[in-house]
């Protein structure tokens, strides 16, 4: 266990972020590295609970008390072994996961939670530094071939697991580079792309094959794919964004976040983007619709581009500063959270509904909104406009970051004929097998839009299901 009574002795601390005016000039990650002793001290706060609610709160079931203890005891090699036992890519979750484990931490009942995520990322970064993370190709091959569609976290985790089980795995990616949302959704200031490359190289070394630029269903049909592979895993994500059906939506300057963010990442990666396609916030008055993580990612990017101003609007009312009574521990806490981007500037406003957009010359110039209040109408929650709160705000760039509505249906899914649920997600059974035998689904495509930690968890479980179906039994965890 961690240090006996460590939680009484030490307080929660996190490493400092780089100064805002420094980091706004680059796209590098915002956290400073931290001395080992500080990490160990934080790990020492772990109480090694009889029921580790953190472990329960983690979709991957990360063995949090175990590696906290190992870190406290300075056994980093042991720690990465335990961490890797449940998590294929701790360097991703350690940077990107909102860490539902932390609000579930027992210490958070009456104190500040253990800095679980920080310990996690420290372990994996240290492990890479020490050279402990090495490719581990399987000892034997089963001769089975599996195609994984999509190279986001779900697809990559699934591929690595299936490969460990000895199957020959090929990952197909529509884009020109591997990584999915990790590559083109997450900004570099949250995840520098060498971190991704490093992991992909390891997967390759272990024997996973990657095919980029393949739009399955277009470049090669589902039927061909199925003929060539013993199993297919659909991990193409939930790429279908929620739209804003208001007048003026068609105006130029109104874009989905997922049009803006990938371009940013490409630019940071050094790709040249054609002038005409460029979608820049420089000097613009920006409004971001949607108060979630994608919105925050847009926010950080527009700051760095040098926007004139930025507002982020959210339909829901502002969450409380601390847990509401009906949102008890160990549930995910619905409280006001600020990401690094919020620290960097901009205005956040809540309870706002966009009524329409207007402009001239086909370009957006204004957003018209109204304040709303959630009310139950005929038993259903609705957002009712408050009279007299209508307002107008100047805007040159409106980014829509209002979430996603399941996988893109046209193309492959239609061709394969897999069943979808009412929300448009792929239906799968306990083995993660879809209505079409031999076809499996994992990640946002099955679960709907969610967290990276869920994507990895889904990828692992789909691999286990797929292996069981292929082999009759499975020893994958």
């Amino acid at each position: 266990m961690g240090k006996l009574g460590g939680f009484i002795e030490f307080h929660r601390r996190l490493p400092p972020r780089r100064p805002v005016d420094e980091r706004l000039h680059d796209y590098r990650e915002v956290y400073l590295t931290w001395p080992v002793e500080s990490v160990r001290e934080q790990a020492a706060r772990c109480m090694d609970c009889g029921i580790p609610f953190c472990h329960s709160g983690c979709p991957l079931g990360n063995l949090i008390p175990e590696w906290n203890d190992l870190v406290w005891r300075d056994d980093w090699a042991g720690a990465i072994e335990r961490l890797h036992a449940t998590n294929n890519f701790p360097e991703f979750t350690g940077r990107l996961c909102p860490a539902p484990c932390e609000p579930a931490c027992v210490l958070s009942i009456n104190d500040d939670a253990v800095t679980i995520k920080q310990v996690e990322v420290s372990i994996i970064d240290r492990a890479f530094e020490e050279g402990w993370v090495r490719a581990a190709p399987p000892a034997h091959r089963t001769g089975k071939r599996v195609a994984v569609i999509g190279s986001g976290p779900a697809g990559l985790a699934c591929a690595q697991q299936l490969n460990r089980a000895g199957h020959n795995v090929t990952v197909f990616e529509r884009d020109d580079r591997i990584g999915g949302l990790l590559r083109y959704g997450i900004p570099d200031f949250k995840l520098e792309k060498w971190v991704l490359e490093r992991r992909i190289d390891l997967l390759s070394a272990e024997g996973v094959a990657f095919e980029t630029g393949y739009d399955i269903g277009v470049d090669i049909t589902g039927a061909e794919l199925r003929a060539r592979y013993d199993a297919v895993v659909l991990a193409m994500g939930a790429g279908h964004p929620r739209d804003l059906p208001v007048p003026g939506r068609e105006l130029e300057g109104v874009h989905f976040a997922m049009e803006y963010l990938p371009q940013q990442n490409r630019r940071v990666a050094g790709e040249l983007i054609g002038e005409a396609e460029t979608l820049s916030a420089r000097g613009r008055r920006v409004i971001i619709l949607g108060g979630g993580d994608t919105g925050a990612d847009c926010l950080g990017n527009v700051h760095r581009e040098g926007c004139a101003s930025v507002h982020q609007f959210e339909l829901l009312p502002p969450p409380p500063e601390s847990r509401a009574f009906d949102n008890p521990w160990p549930q995910w806490s619905l409280i006001m959270r600020s990401s690094s981007a919020h620290e960097e500037g901009g205005v956040r406003d809540y309870s706002i509904s966009t009524t329409h957009l207007s402009g001239s010359n086909g370009r957006v110039e204004r957003l018209h909104g109204v304040r709303v209040e959630p009310r139950k109408v005929d038993g259903r929650m609705q957002f009712v406009p408050l009279e007299g709160t209508e307002f107008t705000m100047e805007a040159d760039l409106v980014l829509l970051a209002m979430g996603f509505l399941g996988p893109v249906r046209s193309g492959l899914l239609e061709e394969l004929g897999v069943d979808l649920d009412a929300r448009g997600n792929i239906v799968a059974d306990a083995d993660f097998q879809t209505s079409v035998p031999g076809v499996f689904a994992a990640g946002d495509a099955r679960r709907g839009q969610s967290l990276i930690v869920w994507a990895i968890a889904e990828g692992r479980q789909a691999a286990r299901g797929c292996d069981r179906v292929l082999m009759g039994s499975t020893r994958l965890p």
Partner: protein, 1501 residues
């Protein structure tokens, strides 16, 4: 003969008895009827030690053994008899049905013919059926005597012929037993003695058997006995005395003793019997009680050439291993005989006789009282109590007690008393035992290593760990703590995982077995403080012909303990080859084979027989040879199979059985392997694991692999001692093969073949499932496809893990319950209950396999009695202030008082400020006041402020164990409540030192009832097989309330092996209790409560249907208060402020009484919904209605299919008049208390403070004198009582037990005479003086004046005893000041405060566990230090002025109050006297006192 047939969960095997035993003898051998009369009189005066059941006129059995009254019989029988010792007299119970009787008599006659004896005739023994009660009458046999003789045969030769004859008759009887309930039983058949006995009460013996009052019925000795048993079914045959002995106590190891005897008897040879020896086998009638089986063995040893006391010394040896004061010859005698016979271990006062010598002995720890007096006219009276006969004081020349392990012998032929030393010295010198041992015995630890033991193989370690089912938790929670601390690992908060048979994960076979433990009928032992009576010494290769004494029998290989290192095993394999050739048998089975495990077992059994035939002396079962094709046979199965196979073949003795296994790694494993017959264990993989940790640099600093190995062995040994001590067993030798376990979920066939005799009441898995589990582990280790690097499974037994073992308390259930009670939102509760009930329906607990019948007519919810009534049946668990914080403790009390339920103080006293209500009407007082072994703060005031007094016999988390509150948890406040010193740790001993037996419990119940007659007295038991019979006994001991706790419960800290492996689920224990009590019509007198992981209304309803009226909630109540199952109660770091005394953490406590109120209300509403569905309007209607329960039809679980709950749901067939729930009050007999008279006489003092002086006679039937009076005083005057000496009472005679119990301040009791056990129990400020009467001729300081366990749990007051006290003087004294002139063993044990002044010799083990207070001991012979347990104290000279003043003042008071010449002599030259005293000072106490520079002790007077 009546063989009681088990029904439902009732099994007569588990009956217990305890009793009064006595003998009266004329030293000179003068025969008279007066001796017979006095024997019976003594027994009548021990009447309170016997018991009666539902029929107050029916006793549990009583009887008398006397010499054959030759003259009387010649006249009465009208038969021409040969000379007095030339004929045998048989006393026999026969069937009442004439034809059947005739048939039995013909058996006798025919056997006489066969054995060459002449049957001289029969005599009807006159008896008066109307002298006994109706239950007794209903089972009464015909009672006859017969006479046999043979020409030229008499004396010893005849006696042996008669023995053979009796065995022949018994064998023939067993071939065709009498029909129905009829009895054919030979009470005695001897040319010297005759036994008159029956299902009688003491006072009924003489009226029933008119023979006995005939003046010509004369005897020089009378051995008498009356039983207090747990059964009441009519059984005439188990009354005592038996043929050679009468026993007060229990034989804990009887199962093993009988097995070993059975194994041994094939080697019997005796010149005295020749071919007849065959007829003696089997020596032991296994249907008899433990005492009867003991008698069988004693008789056999005594009739094959050894004097009876020689046999007794073999069967109940003294604790000699660690007694360095014992002379060498006697040690050699014991050591030699230990190779022949393992001790029959358990508490015992045994009186024995062969008709010429009569004697008595006590077990090694002195756990039974036995006092004797000798008169100047040559009479010896030995009895459980003093004062059983009215003997003129001036005729008494000696008053003494039997001491632990000592023998008293009266040789009526030689006309002398032989004392212990002489009796034993004669025997010890009979042979050169020391030389025999020197020549024959090899000591393993003295042998040189000759080979390098197998090197650990790190490469394959992980795989082998997997094959044996190692988990990461095994390393983290078991091995790591053991190898660093040398102690058993500790955990907290009970066990909420499913029993092994319901676990989805493969379980080691070990987990199917649950440890049994001593409760009520015999005490567990403290293996640390009383280690001197314990021994782990083990030997291999011992045995041979039990019936001879020869040097060859000393040939054996002895080991200091049964855990073998690899080097040790190497020595056994190679070094001792010449003397003890060892053969290894591979205990693995082939994967591919059909029924591979079964074949494997057959193979190892066959190999074992073969190796024995080839002459090997040691068999090593080894599972080292596993590989991809071979899985290990579960080591326990291998051991059980071979052990029982060899017993069946009668080749087990003389062979050493050793197991070399990778499986054993925790205490339970070793305990089981030995309990089922392994004499030594080599846990090679555990050692390799430690070496591997060392290799990887993971051992703590300062510990290398060898140190870790040694420390691990030490921890296992300690754990073994603890495990056997829980069962009341002292030596591993008698534990070996004693099978003190119950199986939960093991199928009949497996038990009957490999674990014969083990209780397994719900059936369960067969070899197929056991194999499947072994194969699952094997396939982890050797998978067909390996994915990634091998890694150990997480485990999840001790901490919840997502992929680990299932826990009922898990993130979901805890979160939902806590939100429900905080928000007072029943919908969350329902979600919680749905999760729990669904879990149980998914087979996670036994109750989950039950289903409510669906054919019941529902009723509207409104018609069901209201929740406010139901919550009155709820209580919270016993959690002490100390284990939990004040805040948490008071939350529970307030909540339960608001509801009208009950909270429980736990073992830690209670702050009197809580006795008053708060201004808002809330009450912080706990309705239940617990009385546990350490009696913290249990004074008169505490006792009167209770609605219920709960005697905690055992607790679910660690039945049979004591506890320890570490010093850092003892703050000022807790110390004040517990009458101890802040910062000094507190020890709770495993047993109550005033409860070693059921009659002792009856006494404590009586004591408590006296102090507070309004409170109901409750006894808390833990479920195990036989708990029903114990509960029946407890009901007969007049408890008002019984708690049956399941093993899963438990909130505080306990050793992990106890949390997991001791006790059984409450479902079985409760069902057994209900059945046995209904069967005996004892149920109607007591209320039954069940507890142990109760969580929902469904649990409550299942409990009610199985028989419970009330319900306890501990863990769930804590969870409602904010507990999140941190399971660190033992570390004082509870982050929610519940199980901690750290003020920083207590601040975090956020529980509220409302939460607990909400929880209990939700529960009650939940109960109501079930009741409505089942059509019950009143809760009472549900109780005992097992017919409403069904077992789930489709048991889908892969392991649970063999389970069979029919025994559990059995409803005893009883007449309609027999109630199945509490309907009537117990009769406590309080109206007989002397205190009524005392209270009446003291009225002016109690009411107005006017001093009074009272003078009365007293006798041993006057028990608990002063208790009720003190209760009265406390009720009116609280803790302070009355001013000094307000009530002065002088009493004359022998006082009964518990004289002056809880005596309140202001009362002075002066006894002119002597007293029995428990004088001054709980002394609460009063003054006690016991001095010999003026007429006495004895030298007081050389004689005993008060019995055992004096001043147990005293919190204040003074006591002066002019004479010697028995064992355990001042045990757990926390404040009284006492002066005495000598004490027995274990003086001042566990003392925490007060002063003891000992003006004479002490016994051994003085000051064991003494953490506070001071003792001054007069060390005349300079040997005191050697008799002291130096574990916690140091000895100082009496030098300071403060000490000198205190000493002088105490001596002065002693002289003044008792007239003691000893005190006067010492005072006469005080400076010289002072230098002869030693001061006993607890080290911690001194440290704390020095730090505080305070003097907490007030001066006397």
């Amino acid at each position: 003969m009546t063989r009681l047939i088990p029904q439902g969960l009732y099994d007569p095997r588990f009956e217990h008895d305890a009793c009064g035993v006595a003998f009266v003898a004329s030293i000179a051998g003068e025969r008279s009827n007066a001796i017979v009369g006095r024997g019976l009189e003594a027994l009548v005066n021990l009447g309170h030690r016997g018991a009666c059941g539902c029929d107050p006129e029916t006793g549990d059995g009583a009887g008398i053994l006397i010499q054959i009254p030759d003259a009387f019989l010649r006249r009465a029988a009208g038969i021409d008899l040969p000379a007095p010792d030339a004929y045998g007299l048989g006393m026999v119970f026969l069937p009442t049905e004439p034809e059947e009787r005739r048939r039995c008599e013909q058996i006798v006659e025919r056997c006489c013919d066969d054995e060459g004896l002449r049957l001289l005739g029969w005599r009807d023994v006159p008896h008066d059926p109307m002298a006994v009660g109706h239950v007794s009458r209903s089972g009464m046999p015909a009672i006859r005597q017969f006479f046999v003789a043979a020409v030229g045969v008499h004396g010893d030769v005849l006696e042996r012929r008669l023995y053979v004859l009796r065995r022949a008759i018994e064998r023939r009887r067993d071939e065709a037993p009498p029909a129905g309930d009829e009895l054919f039983y030979i009470c005695s058949l001897s040319c010297r003695t005759v036994v008159y006995k029956g299902m009688l009460m003491a006072q009924q013996i003489a009226p029933f058997f008119p023979d006995l009052v005939d003046h010509s019925v004369i005897s020089a000795l009378a051995l008498v006995h009356s039983r207090f048993s747990t059964n009441v079914l009519p059984r005439w045959d188990i009354a005592q005395p038996f043929r050679y002995s009468a026993h007060n106590g229990e034989i804990n190891t009887v199962r093993g003793n009988v097995n070993w005897m059975r194994a041994r008897q094939s080697k019997f040879k005796s010149a005295l019997y020749g071919a007849d020896i065959e007829k003696l086998r089997p020596v032991i009638d296994e249907t008899g009680s433990d005492s009867a089986q003991f008698d069988n063995a004693l008789e056999m040893l005594a009739l094959t050439g050894r004097p009876p006391h020689h046999a007794i010394m073999m069967m109940i040896p003294e604790a000699w291993h660690q007694n360095h004061e014992m002379d060498e010859e006697r040690r050699a005698f014991y050591e030699f005989h230990s190779a022949l016979l393992e001790p029959w271990d358990g508490p015992a006062a045994i009186a024995f006789t062969d008709g010429r010598v009569i004697g008595a002995t006590l077990d090694r720890n002195g756990l039974r009282p036995a006092r004797y007096v000798v008169t100047d006219d040559g009479l010896v009276v030995m009895a459980s109590e003093v004062g059983v006969l009215d003997l003129p004081e001036e005729r008494i020349v000696r008053k003494w007690r039997l001491e632990p392990g000592k023998i008293l012998l009266v040789d009526t032929e030689q006309g002398r008393i032989v004392d212990d030393d002489n009796a034993k010295a004669e025997l010890a010198r009979a042979h050169p035992y020391r030389d025999w041992i020197r020549q024959g015995t090899v000591y393993l630890h003295e042998l040189e290593d000759t080979e390098h033991p197998a090197e650990p193989d790190a490469g394959t370690l992980l795989i082998r760990q997997q094959a044996f089912g190692y988990t990461q938790e095994d390393i983290k929670f078991l091995l790591a703590p053991m190898m660093t601390t040398g102690e058993e690992p500790i955990g907290s908060m009970g066990n909420d995982t499913p029993p092994a048979v319901l676990s989805d994960h493969p379980q080691p076979l070990f987990n199917y077995f649950k440890q049994l433990f001593a409760q009520v009928t015999n005490p567990p032992i403290d293996p640390i403080r009383e280690q001197m009576v314990m021994s782990l010494v083990t030997s291999l290769g011992a045995g041979g012909n039990l019936l001879e004494q020869a040097p060859s029998q000393a040939r054996r290989l002895e080991m200091p303990h049964p855990i073998l290192t690899n080097a040790d095993l190497g020595k056994i394999r190679h070094v001792t080859q010449r003397d003890f050739p060892a053969a290894t048998i591979s205990a693995v089975f082939h994967l591919g084979e059909e029924r591979g495990l079964e074949r494997g077992l057959r193979r190892i059994c066959r190999m074992a027989s073969q190796r024995i035939a080839e002459g090997y002396a040691v068999l090593v079962l080894s599972d080292r040879n596993i590989d991809a094709a071979h899985a290990p046979i579960p080591s326990l199965l291998a051991v059980g199979a071979v052990h029982h196979h060899l017993i069946r073949e009668q080749t087990r003795t003389g062979i050493g059985l050793v197991i070399e296994t990778g499986e054993a790694r925790e205490v339970q494993h070793f305990a089981l392997l030995m309990g089922y017959g392994a004499e030594a264990v080599n846990p090679y993989l555990a050692f390799e694991t430690l070496h591997d940790l060392a290799r990887r640099g993971l051992l703590p600093p300062g510990i290398d692999a060898h140190k870790a190995e040694a420390t691990f062995v030490k921890a296992i040994c300690k754990g073994l001692l603890k495990t056997i001590s829980k069962m009341g067993i002292s030596t591993i030798q008698s534990y070996c093969g004693a099978q003190i376990f119950e199986a939960i979920g093991v199928g009949r066939e497996v038990i009957d073949r490999h674990f014969c005799g083990t209780a397994s009441r719900i059936g369960g898995v067969g070899l197929d499932v056991i194999a499947q589990e072994a194969l699952a582990r094997h396939s982890d280790a050797y998978p067909e496809v390996r994915v990634g690097a091998p890694v150990l499974q997480e485990g999840g037994q001790y901490q919840w893990r997502r992929n680990g073992e299932f826990h009922q308390w898990n993130p979901e259930t805890i979160a939902k319950l806590q939100h429900a009670v905080k928000a007072n939102d029943e919908s969350w509760y329902r979600e919680y209950a749905a999760l729990v009930d669904d879990q149980t329906r998914q087979l996670k607990a036994l109750r989950g396999l039950f289903r409510f019948r669906e054919d019941r007519e529902p009723i509207p919810l409104e018609e069901v009695e209201p929740a406010s009534e139901i919550v009155r049946r709820f209580a919270t668990g016993a959690m002490s202030l100390g284990s939990i914080s004040t805040e948490a403790h008071e939350t529970l009390a307030i909540a339960m008082n608001r509801l009208g339920g009950k909270s429980n103080t736990g073992e830690g006293g209670e702050d009197p400020r809580r006795y008053e209500r708060d201004p808002n009407g809330d009450w912080r007082r706990s309705a239940i006041k617990q009385v546990a072994s350490a009696r913290f703060g249990v004074n008169a005031n505490y006792l009167v402020n209770a609605a219920e007094l709960q005697i905690k016999i055992a607790q679910g988390a660690k039945p049979g164990e004591g506890g320890q509150l570490p010093g850092h948890k003892v703050d000022e406040y807790i110390a004040r409540l517990r009458y101890s010193t802040p910062g000094v740790g507190l020890i709770s001993p495993p047993p109550h030192h005033d409860i070693y037996s059921i009659e002792d419990l009856a006494q404590l119940i009586h004591d408590l009832k006296n102090v507070n007659p309004q409170a109901r007295v409750s006894v808390k038991l833990v479920a195990e097989v036989g708990v029903g019979t114990v509960a029946a006994g407890v009901s007969k001991a007049h408890a008002d309330h019984i708690v049956i706790a399941g093993y899963e419960g438990g909130t505080g800290a306990s050793p992990l092996s106890s949390i997991k492996h001791a006790g059984i689920p409450w479902e079985i224990g409760l069902a057994e209790t209900q059945q046995v009590m209904v069967l005996n019509d004892l149920r109607s007198r007591v209320t039954l409560q069940a507890d142990g992981q109760m969580k929902t209304g469904r649990d409550v309803v299942v409990g009610a249907l199985l028989g419970a009226e009330e319900f306890g909630f501990a863990t769930s109540a804590l969870v409602a208060s904010g507990c999140i199952m941190m399971r660190v109660c033992h570390l004082n770091t509870c982050p929610v402020g519940i199980a901690t005394q750290d003020p920083r953490l207590r601040e975090r406590y956020a529980g509220k009484a409302e939460y607990v109120v909400n929880f209990m209300t939700f529960l009650a509403e939940d109960v109501r919904r079930h009741m409505a569905r089942l059509g019950f309007r009143r809760f009472d209607e549900m109780i005992g209605r097992t017919d409403v329960l069904d077992v789930r039809e489709a048991v889908e679980h892969w392991k649970a299919q063999g389970l069979d709950f029919s025994l559990l749901l059995h409803r005893p067939q009883v007449p309609a008049s027999v109630d199945v729930r509490r309907m009537i009050e117990q009769d406590h007999g309080l109206e007989k208390a002397l205190d009524h008279e005392l209270i009446a006489l003291a009225r002016p003092a109690i009411e107005h403070g006017h001093p009074v002086q009272i003078d009365l006679p007293i006798r041993n039937g006057n028990r608990t004198v002063g208790g009720m009076l003190s209760g009265e005083i406390a009720r009116r005057h609280g803790e302070a009582g009355l001013p000094n000496d307000t009530i002065r009472i002088d009493l004359r005679g022998s006082a009964g037990q518990s004289f002056g119990a809880w005596l309140a301040h202001g009362v002075t009791l002066t006894l002119h005479g002597d007293a029995n056990d428990y004088v001054g129990k709980g002394l609460s400020g009063g003054r006690l003086v016991v001095r010999p009467p003026d007429s006495s001729r004895i030298v007081a300081e050389d004689n005993i004046i008060v019995g055992n366990v004096v001043l147990y749990g005293a919190t204040g007051g003074e006591a002066f005893f002019r004479g010697v006290a028995g064992e355990r003087f001042c045990v757990r004294n926390s404040g009284a000041i006492a002066v005495v002139e000598g004490v027995g063993d274990h003086g001042c044990e566990y003392m925490t405060g007060g002063v003891a002044l000992i003006l004479g010799r002490t016994g051994r083990n003085f000051a064991a566990g003494m953490s506070g207070g001071i003792a001054y001991v007069l060390d005349e012979d300079g040997g005191f230090a050697g008799r002291c347990n130096m574990g916690m104290i140091e000895l100082e000279a009496v030098e300071t002025e403060e000490d000198a003043d205190r000493l002088r003042s105490l001596l002065q008071h002693h002289a003044d109050y008792t007239g003691s010449p000893v005190a006067e002599r010492l005072l006469a030259d005080f400076p010289a006297a002072q230098s002869r005293f030693l001061k006993v000072m607890p080290i911690d106490y001194k440290r704390v006192l020095t730090a505080r520079r305070t003097v907490p002790l007030e001066m006397v007077g």
